[in-house]
Amino acid sequence: MATAVTAWLGLMPDEVTAIWLSIKVASVATLASLGPGLGIAYLLARKRFPGRALLDGLVYLPLILPPVVTGYLLLLAFGRRGPIGSVLAEFGIVLSFRWTGAALACAIMGFPLMVRAMRLSIEAVDRRLEQAAATLGARPLAVFLTVTLPLSLPGILAGAVLAFAKAMGEFGATITFVSNIPGETQTLPSAIYTLTQVPGGEAGALRLTLISVVIALAAVLASEILARRLAHRIAGDR
């Protein structure tokens, strides 16, 4: 089936690889940032601590910086010779020029969007419900897991989808950090970019763009349906 579809779309093997890689990178980037994203969103939404403003600003950074700059900074930090990259390398973790690096780049680029959405939702959770849970014996972590988290699911979902969509479109930081190696770091947007750089690449670029749009929109749609179910369950018929 899959082969039939790719044949029908006139896709090159490299392009098929790029599509799968993009999905993998975007999914991993999204899933991997869920945890830290939630944690930071919760901190920003609910806690007052020194350095809070700094953390808040830091989270916004990838949005403000031109992607090339972000990519370059990633290269400096996580490159084989970078301060973090060299330490990671000792543990056998190499990010630069691997798909994992692409996922890192996408995760970082999507992070501000994810955190902002989650944070809004957490802020909207009625604290009186959390208090009620506490009086029933739920420890703060349990309150978070059984009350705050489920009640902010719509925002978590929205954040995840934003991050996924962003990952499906991100290439500036990715290509700067991990280059554009087919099968390893060449995601759909990178492939599209390459095609726009050569004469006659437009048709190919358009085709790949459409594919990336379809995939991202499918994710958006799925999340919408899920969100509506959740909302329905919580709001009841009233």
Partner: protein
């Protein structure tokens, strides 16, 4: 287990400065809207930190701002029924009920109540798989009560738990609260505007006024004070502690005896020898100079008129000493004049109805009963 509270908190123009002790049984927090009842509940539950204060429960210090002790809410093992239900909207009713139970798994059982029992009592069996969003006001309140009762608390805080309920359901839940208080021995701090509820349930009443404790003491003493308890619907009255002497099955009567003498009341469920407390509302006491005949009221008690004081615009409160026990009777000024009542005069008190409040073990009747 005694709750000792001494709290100070400033919130805008409102200043709470309340110190009281709530011992075994039920302590009612009574006071006008905005007097600080909910604030006290929040403080005891551990949801709000006072500016200064101490809270101890039994021999455990829950809070001591001076010693920087503040046990967090989740470790206080105090269940709260809030003024608004605060059900968790993403869980079903069943899950809401199970929520506290689950976190209390490791704790010793305190209430002796089973989930099925609670569900039956509250009449929420048909709601179990519903989401809280569709519940009616009273349904939500009942689920909230159930959730609190199931969490194995060692202290129960209830903030107007019955405000949205119909009389029949209210009566059933009141009896359950009585059982908890007596059988399970859980101390209860109970906020209510309903004097009848307070009179029936409370051993002690704490009256709040603008954040301060205006009065505190045994329920009967407080409820006799018209300056504290709003004189509406004849809520003033006397509390009598009596013992069940005998049951008359045929007539459905129970004979009680006490310092005041003997009283016949409709059949109680308590065993012979049990202590019960009855409330005699002042509005239900008539005063007669001669013993009437052929009257439906069964309890005729002779005593001496101590005095008559104005209570409200046109009515007066007569205090009658019946063998050392004080009864109050509400009369019109016209009656006082017509009967020519004078302090020291011997009079008959005719008691029309009493309300029951079982002291000690065993549960009592729910409704006030007509004699």
């Amino acid at each position: 287990m005694t709750l000792v509270v001494d709290l100070q908190l400033i919130r805008g123009a409102f200043a709470l400065e309340a110190a009281f002790t709530a011992g075994r049984g039920l302590t009612a927090l009574f006071g006008r809207s905005g007097s600080g009842k909910t604030t006290v509940i929040d403080l005891v539950a551990g949801l709000v930190r006072p500016d200064h204060g101490i809270i101890t429960l039994g021999d455990e210090t829950l809070l001591d701002t001076g010693r920087l002790i503040a046990i967090p809410a989740h470790r206080r093992r105090i269940a709260t029924v809030f003024q608004q239900p605060r059900l968790l909207p993403h869980l079903t009713v069943r899950q809401n009920l199970g929520y506290g139970r689950w976190f209390a798994k490791a704790r010793p059982e305190t209430t002796g109540l089973t989930e099925d029992g609670i569900v039956d009592l509250l009449g929420i069996g048909h709601l179990l798989s519903r989401s809280p969003a569709g519940l009616s006001g009273g349904e939500g309140q009942r689920v909230a009560i159930g959730r609190a009762l199931l969490s194995r608390p060692r202290l129960l805080l209830m903030d107007e738990p019955l405000a949205a309920l119909d009389e029949a359901r209210k009566a059933e839940i009141l009896s359950c609260i009585e059982r908890l208080r007596d059988a399970a021995g859980i101390p209860i701090l109970y906020v209510s505007h309903a004097v009848a509820e307070v009179a029936r349930l409370a051993a002690t009443v704490v009256v709040l006024e603008a954040g301060r404790v205006a009065a505190m003491g045994p329920t009967d003493a407080i409820l006799r004070r018209a300056d504290l308890v709003p004189v509406h619907d004849a809520e003033a009255g006397a509390l009598l502690d009596m013992v069940v002497e005998a049951h008359d099955e045929e007539l459905g009567l129970t004979r009680l005896t006490g310092r005041i003498g003997r009283l016949a009341v409709p059949r109680l469920s308590q065993d012979v020898g049990a202590e019960v407390r009855i409330r005699v509302p002042a509005r239900d006491v008539l005063v007669a100079l001669r013993a009437p005949v052929g009257l439906s009221a069964r309890n005729l008690i002779c005593g001496r008129l101590l005095g008559v004081s104005p209570a409200g615009e046109a009515s007066m409160l007569a205090e009658i000493d019946c063998n050392g026990v004080l009864l109050a009777a509400r009369l019109t000024r016209a009656s006082v004049r017509d009967l020519g009542l004078e302090p020291g005069q011997p009079v008959f008190a005719i008691i029309k109805s009493v309300a029951f409040d079982p002291q000690g073990v065993g549960t009592g009747r729910l409704a006030a009963v007509e004699i």
